[in-house]
């Protein structure tokens, strides 16, 4: 370690994607053991900057970058992530890179497995060494406990809740002994607050051991809590570099978007009671990490119904169970008719749609254009955007209608893109998310389940997303059931909120009820009135 020389220096780095400039003149430096918080709107260029640093092939294949990057005072230009790893850089990507059929242990130790000698090694070389399963298990457990978390190391990645996947990814970077710089691209976006706290604490530990970090997040409070230094990107340029002690959330937010950000809007006016559209009775759902044991509630037509609660208590399991994605039992009826559980096609056919919390990468046809992504499901299920001739004998795509609908949502949700024909893979993480939501809105179901709708969305755009949810609810009468780990978000859009604790509904309150009451419900202490949570005209 050279004296006084920072670990990392980024000098006037810039990047263009086919004439579309996304980064310009980025300069910053990072000392040993320092944590740098990188913030900016969706599409500001954060992930792109990190991809450059990590030598991701997508950068070279789109024309490389400008400027210089110095690690320990020496210029580096990685042509593959492998070189970056060799140089001591670890990265947790915004998209998961876990192998679904591998266990936690196998994923953490991917390509760094512990092995044992056998005589055949003399003939065929090192790669024919046998795996030391015992040793691997120990190392994986050590890495996980270093984060301060516990996961069964034998679980397959495909069967884990998102939060656990994230910890597995981080444990993978921690197991690397030579990691000097850890890049974390929105590691907390998929975590519930309590999980995020565990993670933040463990990152602090790591940095006290001398590991430097670049930490990207849209949760500004985390940035203030964790980081030593904050860099704000707007439209690919650094607009502010500051220290947490010199600033606050509102300042950062306004630097990000370039104007003042309004605090979240007031809660909804109360609405008259209507008949129940969805009745859930003694629902259980076997979703790993989010087990629902016994949930009973009903949702009124035209309502925005919130489901909240702490991580791992089962709030995410409810929508997944009703939509047939995980094994479930009990009874669920829609508009008075009991639906078949465990049959996703059936649930979809009953005019319900679902935007899942686990949609990074899997919810979109990444190689297809934005308009195609937005219109596809509606076209498949409902014959929307299809023009018929000769009484339906000839059908063709109504491109004009598709374009109009896409452009409407691009505007409403402020999807940052070059045109409606841009491929989804080229969008930033937050903007992909918005496309997922638009897709569900276009289908226009009677009942829409959305889980964690603002995850990975920047402070400015969060309001747009919530406003759009409201607009859909008001203009089309869509009943919305929104699951979120952010209580404030639920309180700002919902009519009523159910809190899930230990797989059961611990209470349902109007959104206007005081925050402390919800807090108590989350801790599992239902203040007095038991069983009042079915239906009920909360005013």
């Amino acid at each position: 370690m050279a004296n006084g020389e920072p670990l990392l220096r980024v000098e006037s780095v810039g990047k263009e994607f086919f004439g579309n400039r996304v980064l310009a003149d980025v300069d910053f430096s990072l000392g040993h053991g320092e944590i740098l918080g990188l913030v900016g709107e969706n599409g500001a260029g954060k992930s792109t900057l990190m991809n450059i640093l990590f030598g991701m092939p997508v950068i070279a294949s789109t024309g490389g970058y400008e400027g210089r990057i110095l690690l320990d005072g020496k210029e580096v230009k990685f042509s593959s992530p492998f070189e970056a790893i060799d140089a001591g850089i670890g990265m947790v990507h915004q998209e998961f890179s876990l192998l679904p059929g591998f266990t936690v242990t196998e994923n953490i130790l991917l390509n760094r497995e512990s092995t044992k000698y056998n005589p055949l090694v003399e003939v065929f070389g090192e790669r024919i060494r046998t795996l030391d399963r015992q040793g691997m298990k120990k190392r994986a457990e050590a890495a996980i406990s270093e984060i301060g978390f516990s996961i069964d190391t034998g679980t397959f990645a495909a069967e884990m809740p998102v939060g656990h996947k994230q910890f597995t990814e981080i444990a993978r970077e921690i197991d690397r002994l030579n990691t000097k710089l850890l890049v974390l691209d929105e590691p907390t976006a998929v975590l519930a607050e309590s999980e995020a706290e565990i993670l933040i604490q463990s990152l602090r530990n790591l940095s006290s051991k001398g590991i430097s970090m670049i930490f990207i997040s849209h949760r500004l409070q985390e940035i203030l809590d964790l980081c030593d230094k904050i860099v704000v990107l707007r439209d690919g340029r650094i607009v502010k570099e500051t220290r947490p002690s010199d600033t606050d959330i509102f300042q950062i937010a306004s630097h990000m978007v370039g104007r003042n950000v309004e605090a979240s809007s007031a809660s909804r006016p109360s609405r008259p009671d209507t008949e129940a559209i969805l009745e859930v009775d003694k629902l259980w759902v076997d979703m790993p990490g989010e087990t629902v044991r016994d949930a009973t509630f009903s949702v009124q037509r035209g309502e925005i119904f919130g489901i909240g609660g702490l991580a791992g208590q089962g709030k995410l399991g409810i929508a997944n169970g009703i939509m047939g994605l995980f094994m479930a039992g009990g009874s669920v009826s829609v508009k008075g008719l009991v639906i078949k559980l465990n049959d996703p096609a059936h649930s979809l056919s009953r005019d319900m749609a679902f935007v899942s919390e686990d949609r990074r990468g899997v919810g979109l046809l990444l190689e297809e254009s934005i308009d195609w992504n937005i219109a596809f499901t509606a076209m498949q299920v409902q014959d929307k955007f299809v023009r018929k001739l000769l009484g339906g004998l000839v059908k063709w795509r109504d491109d004009a209608a598709m374009r109009a609908a896409t452009q409407e949502y691009i505007k409403l949700l402020d999807i940052k893109c070059t045109s409606h024909k841009q491929r989804a893979v080229e969008l930033s993480g937050g903007n992909q998310q918005k496309v997922c939501l638009a897709k569900a809105f276009v289908v226009g179901p009677d009942i829409l389940f959305v889980s964690e709708p603002t995850r990975g969305i920047d402070v400015g755009a969060k309001k747009l997303v919530l406003d759009t949810l409201r607009k859909v609810n008001e203009e089309r009468g869509t009943t919305i059931i929104m699951t979120s780990s952010e209580l404030e978000e639920l309180r700002s859009v919902c009519d009523r909120i159910a809190i899930v604790d230990n797989g059961r509904i611990s209470g349902i309150r109007p959104a206007a009820a005081p925050a402390t009451e919800f807090g108590l419900l989350m801790m599992g202490s239902e203040p007095a009135v038991a069983g009042s949570d079915v239906g009920g005209g909360d005013a």
Binding site: N111, L325, E357, D358
Partner: protein
């Protein structure tokens, strides 16, 4: 319980191919009128004959490269070894070992070429290796038809240099002096491995021969595969099989590993072809290898394997079911239709039908599985 029903349904769907073939055999066996002793003997012989070839397909599947239609390259290499050994009149086990020693480097080179080509056609490995098989078949025919012959029969014009790989045994060569005959009698090699250590067990009124030495080799190979899965190389192949991009970003040498998978498979196929032909005893120079490829792949599919998942159990179940159908269908056809000729057509029809059915069922199953995993993963909206 819904739980149980779903599990049973999934079990039936994922094993639909072997189940259909079990049902077909249950129907055809009584019709054919064969005795059980005879069928057991046939199955034991055919398992010994074919298992090694089918096992050679497992490793590329593990590496996510699908069914290695390129295994015919290995089969060709094995045949070249056998031709030369027959010409040199090396017989018995030493002959087989020598044939293997000759064919291994040829198979390795062919496998290397094949692996390199497949690396340029990621995601389209099966069709590419199938076509590559045709291409290499052309080269093989050129070599066997023109470049092998009696010394001095064809010289490069003006130089007087012999361009032929010399053989001395005129029985192997076409009457014109070069080019290998279509049917070669592997007299000295016939059953060399099978008879090395054979065991007779009484079965009802019949006596059944069990080629223990061949089975020992197959067992050894199965152990090898199980062990191989636990090596670092095997783990890397599994990783690549699941997601090439993730494996790549973790620093696994994806292309190199894929080449290794194909090289191993091709070399093993060469070995398998030698075992196969020593049991048959005669070699069809120009089509033995083609049949090998098609039949091995069909057998594996019938055993319930998929393009992306195959186990040792699939191999043995598949070989047994496939050959059971093979043995009983002509007789069953004759019984049904009453004519010997039609029985023969029936045999051809069934054997090719089997392949077609297996591939179609397999495509349908893949569609089903995709639906299942898609629903599991993605919030459909």
């Amino acid at each position: 319980m819904i739980d149980m029903k779903d599990n049973i349904k999934h079990f039936l769907i994922s094993n639909s191919v072997p189940i259909i073939f079990i049902a077909l055999s249950a129907f055809a066996i009584p019709l054919s009128g064969f005795s059980y002793g005879y069928l057991v003997q046939e199955m034991l012989t055919r398992l010994a004959r074919n298992s090694f070839l089918v096992l050679s397909l497992l490793i590329p599947i593990m590496a996510g490269m699908g069914l290695n239609f390129g295994m015919v390259l290995g089969a060709m290499a094995g045949q070249i070894g056998l031709i030369l050994v027959t010409d040199w009149s090396v017989v018995g086990i030493p002959g087989l070992v020598l044939a293997a020693i000759i064919s291994m480097p040829i198979a390795a080179v062919l496998g290397y070429v094949c692996g390199n080509v497949l690396n340029r056609a990621k995601g389209r490995e099966m069709v590419t290796s199938y076509i590559l098989g045709f291409f290499i078949n052309g080269i093989y025919q050129f070599v066997v038809l023109y470049l092998i012959g009696i010394k001095g029969m064809l010289r490069i014009p003006f130089t007087g240099m012999d361009i032929r790989i010399p053989v001395t045994n005129p029985q192997l060569v076409l009457s014109r002096g070069y080019g290998i005959r279509n049917a070669i009698n592997l007299t000295g090699l016939r059953h060399a491995l099978d008879n090395a250590f054979q065991f007779n067990v009484p079965f009802g009124s019949a006596v059944i021969d069990i080629p223990v030495s061949t089975y020992a080799l197959i067992a050894f190979f199965c152990v090898f595969i199980v062990w191989f899965r636990r090596t670092k190389l095997g783990q890397d192949m599994r990783a690549i099989g699941q997601d090439m991009a993730v494996a790549d970003s973790s620093g696994i040498a994806v292309e190199r590993t894929r080449i290794i998978a194909i090289v191993i498979s091709t070399m093993l196929a060469a070995f398998g072809q030698i075992i196969f032909l020593q049991n048959i005893g005669t070699m069809n120079t120009y089509n033995s290898h083609d049949q090998t490829g098609m039949f091995s792949i069909a057998a594996l599919l019938i055993g319930g394997a998929t393009v992306s998942k195959a186990s040792i159990a699939n191999v043995f179940v598949g070989v047994t079911l496939f050959h059971l159908m093979f043995v009983v269908s002509p007789m069953a056809g004759k019984e049904l239709i009453g004519q010997a000729q039609l029985g023969e057509y029936f045999r051809v029809f069934v054997s090719y039908g089997i392949i077609a059915v297996a591939l179609v069922l397999h495509a349908w199953k893949r569609y089903q599985e995709r639906e299942r995993s898609r629903r599991g993963l993605r919030g459909e909206a």
